[in-house]
Symmetry: C2
């Protein structure tokens, strides 16, 4: 177990775990000195320490899964799902959510100080992977003296982390809830990420990631990257329903390049508001981590050899019918692999037109599913 | 009929029609003095002038439909389709292809001189629409002393022009071949275009479209715009088949931001090579023209009132099963409207995994379809 010191950060309104005793080794072979992991907890750990749930955030998420987010001034990104009497009920469960390594909400990432040379990492931050994120979370969980998590829950990049937990630390978890994920990032997904990265890196303000030295931020590039990504998070149907070809604040087209259509002003707003809360370099590193994720050929073998067959993890795999970024087919491949290994797996494709972002939106079926899965399994282990 | 003068441009290896006598009025109400339309012809007009086919190019196309393109130094964009003994056989047909108004291959567009004040238009170029493009083509056809075109053929933005011909000049055409198009640009399509435009307009070199004055070009923004668009032209399956997660020139991931995956270097190449042949302002204006295209509610009514019911245009409507930019469903709406009006319409969805770009690629079924449609209809009118 690593020597870990936990502090309170009053500005960030969260805790920060600092791993003191050694350099944290990354999958790339690089090392990070005094790794910081910013995290928040909600609810109370029970005396047997059997009610801990780790929620893993997606690409642009953070530790503020519920309650107040001091960076945005708004509610946490999954306030709908997590809280007292919510589907993930903090009256019953102890919920932990940490900012991933490479992130920009207090964990060690490109906008933090490199403890080796006391300068901001920027573009010199080492490459991180989903495996690295999970390794850091595992050290945090150890530091909280929790031997076994009841559940690891996540959507999108969070689902990748949940899956990685089941591969790397099967003895430390009882179940995972894997939402809108896949065994790999597809060529099309890599392509969309790559265009977003090119938008950032071709912004002259980016300066090979050293913009902090010039007190600037590549806001234009990051905004374009966010706009691209945002299109992929919605379905064509949701976009049509939401915007269609409706005009923005006018009755007739302007014959110009102002935002004529509502979908245009919506995207511009998404881009602009994103740059206030997210670091461009973190966006580069975390999209890269997702691109590198690949258990397409290896998953079945990894699970077969990593898990004690007498002590199965339970899997809940959820997909959304209109998600074209992580289509249902990708979830079915996971379900199929698990079934072939006779693992305990539940699977549901939720019918919705809201696209990939469905897991963050009002989807009562998802709420009920997660709540039911957690409660029934919790009763079972506490019988 | 307008007074039109035709010159040869030796550098551009094409003809240029100059409309002299009046200002050309645009749909926006703006006017263009001495409108230039760059065009090429292939094959010979027969004595009865019944064998003329107008090919309309897509967003980034030009008049070099076949043969040598002096701008790229390569073959024309549809050399596969148009030429002697090709599906659109120039031994039999007289093929005309003109650069659209707003384009950048010799027709009046943002990179040309405004004859009113002798300075480059740049961002002061007026907004153009598909209707304006077709109006200019119609004047060109008049200038070539052709009363009636045998066919108007186009894919994507070219299909929009073909449809516009059938609405605005039904008496001047015998049939249209409408490939991978729609009655309107969808919210998602507008969204992708808007992100491309934002990438260009947020490039500091763009300077509100006045970059020519500074002898610069917003290459980074245009390159990102092209990369975004390119993803939408391919299908997920085609991308997977072509690239999957194959690495570029290495065996293992680099843990960095070089092009690790083949799909990344492919996109970077697409972006970089595009800026050598296309003007960023033209890209803004032409994507806008596509966004503005909208006959969703109006098409049936327009066709009903514009066409003499005794003199039907024949329609060939073609879609591709994997085209997610202009999905088959959009073509079916057109076919349905035409059927409801008892018009002569043939429709085929071609099964292919090549996506929207299929019409530019090797699709023997498309070749046979176009060839057969043209020949059988040509025999009919010449009986």
């Amino acid at each position: 177990m690593s020597d870990i010191k936990i502090k309170t950060d009053n500005t960030l309104e969260c805790s920060v775990a600092i791993i003191n005793n050694a350099n944290f080794s990354l999958e790339s072979g690089e090392k990070i000195k005094n790794l910081k992991i910013a995290f928040k907890t909600f609810g109370k750990l029970n005396s047997k320490k059997t009610n801990a749930i780790l929620v893993c955030h997606a690409l642009t998420g953070d530790q503020y899964v519920t309650g107040h987010n001091p960076i945005t001034g708004k509610d946490g990104w999954w306030s709908r799902m997590v809280g007292p009497n919510k589907p993930i009920d903090t009256n019953k469960f102890f919920v932990i959510c940490s900012n991933v390594i490479g992130g920009c909400a207090g964990s060690t990432g490109p906008k933090e100080i490199n403890e080796e040379n006391k300068s901001i990492y920027g573009g010199d931050f080492p490459s991180v992977t989903i495996k690295d994120m999970v390794k850091a979370q595992s050290i945090l969980i150890d530091g909280l003296n929790i031997t076994k998590l009841f559940s690891v829950v996540g959507g999108s990049m969070g689902a990748m982390q949940a899956l990685q937990w089941s591969i790397d630390f099967p003895e430390k978890i009882s179940n995972i809830i894997h939402i809108a994920g896949a065994l790999k990032h597809s060529a099309q997904n890599i392509a969309f990420h790559e265009v977003g990265r090119q938008a950032i890196m071709s912004d002259p303000v980016w300066k090979k990631g050293r913009y902090f030295n010039y007190n600037e931020r590549p806001e234009r590039g990051l905004s374009v990257a966010r706009m691209i990504a945002h299109i992929t998070y919605l379905s064509e149907d949701a976009m049509h329903r939401k915007f269609g070809r409706k005009l923005q604040s006018r009755d007739i087209i302007s014959f110009g390049f102002d935002a004529d259509f509502q979908v245009e002003s919506y995207l511009r707003y998404q881009g602009k508001s994103f740059v206030d809360r997210f670091d461009a370099n973190s966006y580069l590193y975390l999209t890269r981590a997702m691109d590198y994720f690949d258990y397409d050929e290896k998953f079945k073998r990894k699970i077969e050899f990593s898990q004690n067959p007498n002590n199965h993890i339970k899997y809940l795999i959820v997909s959304f019918s209109s998600d074209w970024l992580f289509p249902t087919q990708e979830s079915k491949i996971i379900v199929n692999d698990l079934n072939n290994l006779s693992r305990k797996v539940s699977f549901l494709e939720i019918e919705t037109d809201k696209g990939h972002d469905s897991f963050l939106l009002d989807e009562p079926q998802l709420d009920n599913l997660i709540n039911g899965f957690l409660l029934s399994n919790f009763e079972e282990i506490n019988e």
